[in-house]
Amino acid sequence: MTADEAIISVRGLRNQFGSNIVHQDLDLDVYRGEILGVVGGSGTGKSVLLRSIVGLMTPKAGQVHLFGKDMLSLPATERAAYEKRVGVLFQQGALFSSLTVLENIALPLIEHAKLTRREASEIARVKIALTGLAAHAADLYPSDLSGGMIKRASLARALALDPDILFLDEPTAGLDPIGAAAFDQLLKTLRDAFNLTVFLVTHDLDTLYTACDRVAVLSQKQVLVADRLDVVANTDDEWIRDYFQGPRGRAASQAADRIDN
């Protein structure tokens, strides 16, 4: 698989709840090694798109290819093998509340890689370090963690099996600006180290400017545009103009320019 090849490719996707059509003829490509930011107003189906791609919901029509394989027509056993190469960070972290952070991360290692508890713990400790958590956090329960720590612990669990693709659902929502900026930086570091492909649903303009290689805008039930940020920001569309040229968009853009210079 070359760098230009689409690792995720969605064609003609259609999702609807009752008579409410969320996606219609939606096409999207995500290329290996890039961080794609997905934005859109509330109710445009960003999370629904993510859930359709990772297989948490079955679309009404269309195809979802991961690693060049059609996930919807693949038998369940083969599909599971590919799903192991995908990591998901849920919006609320979704850490198992009855397990410590270490056990949360060790669980997929024990279940899928057939490691013993001790071996899995060794690798889990490395993941904990990689996501910037302090060592003592390993023995804490999710209820004892702060919002930022939950996101990091959840990211460590998503990275447990060294996935090729990482899906993030609003990872910086609810974090303070310093924590959010640190998370953006962490994401870039990990992408470079693990050659990850990242599918990032976000509302955070700063994340778009600092972390994303490309941005896809969901609007009118489709991907309106998916391109580099400067191209997207200058697209002639009312919502995109309001989004990027509004006071928050301008502030984030200026902040990003200052960092670059």
Binding site: A113, A135, D139, S143, L161, D162, A193
Partner: protein
């Protein structure tokens, strides 16, 4: 899998890596040992076919974070991506703050746990007494101010906790009454004294069972509901909103619930007693050849003080159930899990306390000769 690791001796000892250093091979990889990690000067990864975090972890354990960080730039055959991976792992482990090891002591930890339990039990008792006092003070302050009485809330709670509980309380007591009558009939038949089955049922339900069963049902049904209602308000920060608007949560939430139970539990207790005796009557009429008029005549001969003694416990149970339910609701801390834990705790505590107080009351009445 063989020869994944070789140390080439020489003036510049070189660590040769080969094969797949990945998660599926982690169990073999971690068995490898390096006698002299300090002497390694170079890493040769020409024959390395795959590397992931698991492989990086093994290398890290063999060489140590500092050594690995120093060696990676001077390695042969490592692609930039793999260098980045190794450096990221080494950096993270070297820079990680804090100590991971928490020492455990088998007996000490158990003892500490016991101590924590004792202290927490004591604090729970103190919290309850504190809450009881606070509620009583609020109640007394409310008495001369009828315009602040919350009649609507009171009636709504009486409806939920009292009226809606009538069917289940009646059915349950009816069934227990029938069972007690069967039991009495079986045992008393041996003595040819089946007629005393009537007294057994009447005394048991008037003095003990009627109010006790009603209170246990209410502890399960209403204490949990109180905890869930107040706890979800706490999770939703509604209690804080009340406070910043200058309103008292005790006055608005606790007092109506407390009064509702104070009024309805004696009534429910009476319903329970009647239902239990009715259950006994059914069994007596059907299996013991005691006519209904005979049954009622015997029941009427039972001194009314037994009924009053039984019902006199109801207000105490009501206060305990209402306050434990509300207090557990206030103790909920922020999460749905905590809400569930406190709801369970409210039910367990209130049932325990109801049975305990009932036992103490029975002994007290007996000693007093009532």
């Amino acid at each position: 899998m063989s020869d994944t690791l070789t140390l080439q001796p020489g003036p510049e000892p070189c660590l040769q890596l080969s094969g797949d250093w990945t998660l599926p091979h982690y169990q073999q990889l971690r068995l490898q040992r390096l006698d002299t990690p300090d002497q390694v000067q170079r890493i040769d990864a020409q024959a390395l076919t795959a590397l992931d975090t698991a492989g990086a972890t093994v290398l890290l354990q063999l060489l140590g974070a500092e050594r690995l960080r120093a060696l990676v730039p001077h390695s042969a055959g490592l692609s930039p991506e793999r260098q980045a991976l190794l450096l990221a792992v080494a950096d993270a482990m070297a820079e990680q703050k804090g100590d991971a090891t928490t020492t455990r002591y088998r007996f000490g930890d158990g003892l500490a746990q016991l101590g924590r339990r004792m202290v927490s039990g004591w604090q729970q008792l103190l919290a309850f007494l504190n809450f009881l006092g606070l509620t009583l003070v609020t109640l007394l302050a409310l008495l001369p101010r009828p315009w602040r009485w919350r009649i609507t809330a009171l009636v709504a709670q009486m409806h939920q906790a009292g009226l809606n509980a009538v069917p289940i309380v009646a059915v349950l007591n009816f069934l227990v009454g029938a069972v007690v009558a069967f039991l009495g009939a079986t045992v008393l038949r041996e003595f040819g004294a089946t007629i005393y089955t009537v007294d057994l049922v009447a005394y048991a339900f008037m003095r003990e069972l009627g109010v006790l069963l009603a209170a246990i049902l209410l502890a399960g049904r209403t204490a949990s509901a109180f905890t869930a209602q107040i706890g979800s308000m706490k999770v939703n920060e509604e209690l804080d909103a009340l406070k910043v608007h200058g309103m008292s949560a005790i006055e608005m939430l606790v007092i109506p619930r407390l009064l509702a139970l104070l009024i309805t539990l004696p009534l429910l207790g009476f319903v329970a007693i009647m239902a239990g005796i009715a259950g006994g009557a059914l069994v007596s009429v059907l299996t013991l050849d005691i006519s209904l008029t005979r049954f009622i005549a015997i029941v009427q001969e039972v001194p009314v003080k037994h009924l009053l003694l039984g019902l006199s416990k109801a207000p105490f149970f009501a206060v305990l159930i209402a306050l434990i339910g509300c207090l557990e609701g206030f103790k909920v801390a922020g999460s749905a899990q905590s809400l569930g834990e406190h709801t369970t705790s409210a039910v367990v505590q209130s049932i325990f306390v109801v049975i305990l107080v009932n036992a103490i009351a029975a002994m007290f009445f007996m000693e007093m000769g009532w």
